[in-house]
């Protein structure tokens, strides 16, 4: 409750707001810091990586952790830390792209189906159901086949596959919110459908979507790994966490430690997304008074 107010009052003072938030919600603040650091690291990858992420050193294949290679090297002698940093950029880009596509398709479709109802809702709901009845990754592979192989096309496919999940969630919330008295009140004041959807339905229906989006970011991260693992995502020699994991998996018997850096990176990032989602849900709800 107070959380929402101090944001309104001290909008200009970002650091002050952040410190205030960190005091109340340490996990959320830590998650956000971790993700921001990750983005900053990935954005400045070409300056901070100790080696070129694609440079092979055939004299140092599968090198262990050392002062020269902090996280060792892979089976082609490429520096794991450099590939982890560069691959983080690719993986984050892939996750955000997929989720952006899912939001751009799923939220408007869900709003329209839920608010307008009738036969439009029937048609949209049946399409959503048929999408959801397919295994997501199989569908993504099929769509990638149609769009062409590559990280961007792969993640557009993942976004398309994720969109029905968001659409169904938004539709369900919209069905509830459109019956609220404040929606009737706005209609009575002569508000257009667009105004009602934008100012009343969306803000009140979006809360579970925010949580779902963070789950989807984590799922997209894994989908990127799967697609890259199958060779449908990022193409060699470029790095992504999924591709690194796939490569390490192939050499598991020779050097199991190589799976830990990308695996832990995926785990921690997915965890940070989920934790941040929970914090956002609480912070964005002006009626919530519980801070855990």
């Amino acid at each position: 409750m107070e959380g929402a107010i101090f944001i309104v009052e001290r909008r200009g003072d970002v650091l002050w707001v952040f410190m205030r938030w960190a005091r109340r919600d340490l996990r959320g603040a830590l998650s956000l810091s971790f993700l921001l650091a990750l983005v900053a690291l990935a954005a400045s990858a070409s300056w901070v990586t100790p080696y070129s992420p694609t440079a092979q050193d055939l004299n140092a294949m599968m090198a262990p952790i050392s002062s020269r290679h902090w996280l060792g090297t892979d089976d082609l002698g490429r520096d794991t830390l450099s590939r982890l940093i560069a691959g983080g950029g690719a993986s984050l880009y892939a996750s955000f792209l997929a989720v952006f596509i899912a939001i751009a398709i799923g939220v408007p479709v869900g709003l329209v189906a839920g608010y307008i109802g009738g036969w439009i809702d029937e048609v949209i709901s049946r399409v959503i159901d048929s999408f959801l009845s397919f295994p997501a990754i199989v569908l993504a592979i099929a769509v990638t086949g149609a769009l062409g192989i590559g990280l961007t096309n792969g993640m557009i496919s993942v976004g398309i596959v994720f969109a029905p999940q968001l659409a169904r969630l938004v539709r369900a919330r919209t069905l509830v919110v459109r019956r609220e008295l404040y929606v009737d009140s706005a209609r009575c004041l002569g508000a257009t459908t667009i105004h009602i959807l934008r100012r009343h339905i969306l803000p009140n229906a979006i809360q579970p979507v925010i949580v779902q989006v963070t789950l989807l970011l984590a799922a997209a991260l894994l989908a990127e790994a799967s697609l890259s693992f199958l060779g449908l995502g990022i193409q060699p020699p470029e790095a992504s966490w999924g591709a690194m994991l796939a490569r390490a998996y192939q050499n598991m018997e020779l050097d199991p430690t190589q799976m830990y850096p990308p695996g832990l990176a995926i785990l921690l990032t997915a965890l940070a997304f989920n934790t941040l989602g929970e914090s956002l849900r609480i912070t964005l709800d002006p009626t919530s008074t519980t801070w855990r």
Binding site: M1, Y182, S185, C188, L189, G190, T192, H195, R199, P286
Partner: protein
């Protein structure tokens, strides 16, 4: 509690709302008989008057109120706003038209968007009509908040931080922003503490004078209606039972249902002055999907006769301006009907 001005409406004026044989049905999922929430209602509302509508829960009074402001489309019959049927309007013309006909709901919390501050909620109507710039809207909203008696420091709060009375004042301010002609008040004080009701009703009276408003006050609470209404309508199972000037309906009720409602009302009088007899209504309100034949009040009416089951009573003007739907409203006259009542009570 001050009474709202009891100006007698002149019949020469064109009614600001005309309701003609209005029917509102709700279809049940089973595909059975629809629920007849409003089942053939006629009345006029004159500009500047306050019409009270009394009914129990399930009487269709809320559906009627929502239909009056075009939130429900009538299944048959007509509602004319100042002579104009709003269902013939489309798009922007309809949206512009309906601004003159506002509604305030029973639950003041549910009527405010929980994610908007008080100030945003009150300024929103101006944003909808794209009036002025943001700063001017906020200024006007602050002025309206002051007008309905809310301190300025509440403006940046969220609805859940306000009391029920404060929230209802916010709803009133919001409804007034576009200067409507008519406000339908649907049980507007029912959710409030008794101690607050008088205050809010006085505010309504004050605003009616200041803004030249016409009110339709929907309530189950006779005390509320009697204090503020110029005329009173009594609705039962989707049909009007009685309609007349407030004094006439309260003083000389013609319909047994109205009499029962009035006798059930506790009076702040010494025992000796209170009416001796209290008419108890027995049983539940019948299923509105299958209302009783003939007069729909007959299943609970203390004076029901065989004729009431076979023949629906006509809507008749018994004395000028005072109409009723009861076979025995005038033949009996008050003393004789009282006799009928007492015999039936003894049975």
């Amino acid at each position: 509690m001050t009474a709202i001005s009891h100006s007698t409406p002149t019949t020469a004026e064109r009614p600001i709302i005309s309701v003609r044989d209005l029917r509102v049905l709700f279809r049940t999922p089973g595909g059975k008989d629809p629920i007849r929430a409003v089942d053939g209602v006629d009345f006029d509302v004159q500009p500047g008057e306050t019409l009270g509508i009394i009914g129990e829960s399930g009487s269709g009074k809320t559906s009627l109120g929502r239909a009056l402001v075009s939130l429900i489309t009538p299944d048959s019959g007509q509602i004319l706003h100042d002579g104009l049927d709003p269902t013939t309007l489309r798009g922007a013309r309809f949206r512009a038209h309906r601004r003159d006909y506002q509604i305030i709901f029973q639950d003041p919390s549910a009527a405010l968007d929980p994610r908007m501050t008080v100030l945003d909620s009150v300024a929103e109507p101006l944003a909808i009509v794209r009036a002025a710039d943001d700063a001017a809207r906020r200024r006007e909203a602050l002025a309206m908040l002051a007008r309905v008696g809310l301190p300025r420091d509440l403006a940046e709060r969220y609805p859940h931080q306000l009391s029920g009375g404060q929230k209802q004042r916010v709803n009133i301010a919001r409804a007034l922003m576009l200067r409507p002609k008519v406000i339908v008040c649907d049980e507007v004080v029912a959710a409030l503490d008794v101690s607050l009701r008088g205050e809010i009703l006085n505010l309504f009276a004050d605003l009616q004078r200041a803004f030249g408003l016409t009110y339709i006050f929907i309530t189950h609470d006779i005390a509320v209606v009697s204090h503020i209404s110029d005329r009173i309508a009594v609705i039962y199972l989707g049909k009007l039972m009685e309609l007349g000037a407030a004094d006439a309906v309260m003083g000389e009720p013609l319909h047994p249902y109205t009499q029962a409602l009035l006798s059930a009302e506790p009076l702040a009088l010494p025992a000796a002055l209170r009416p001796k007899r209290r008419i108890m209504l027995e049983g539940e309100v019948p299923n509105p999907a299958a209302p009783p034949s003939g007069c729909r009040f007959r299943t609970r009416c203390p004076v029901a006769r065989p004729r009431c089951a076979s023949e629906a009573p006509l809507w008749r003007e018994v004395t000028p301006g005072h109409s009723v739907a009861c076979h025995f409203a005038e033949v009996a006259g008050r003393p004789q009907r009282d006799a009928i009542l007492s015999t039936s009570m003894q049975k």
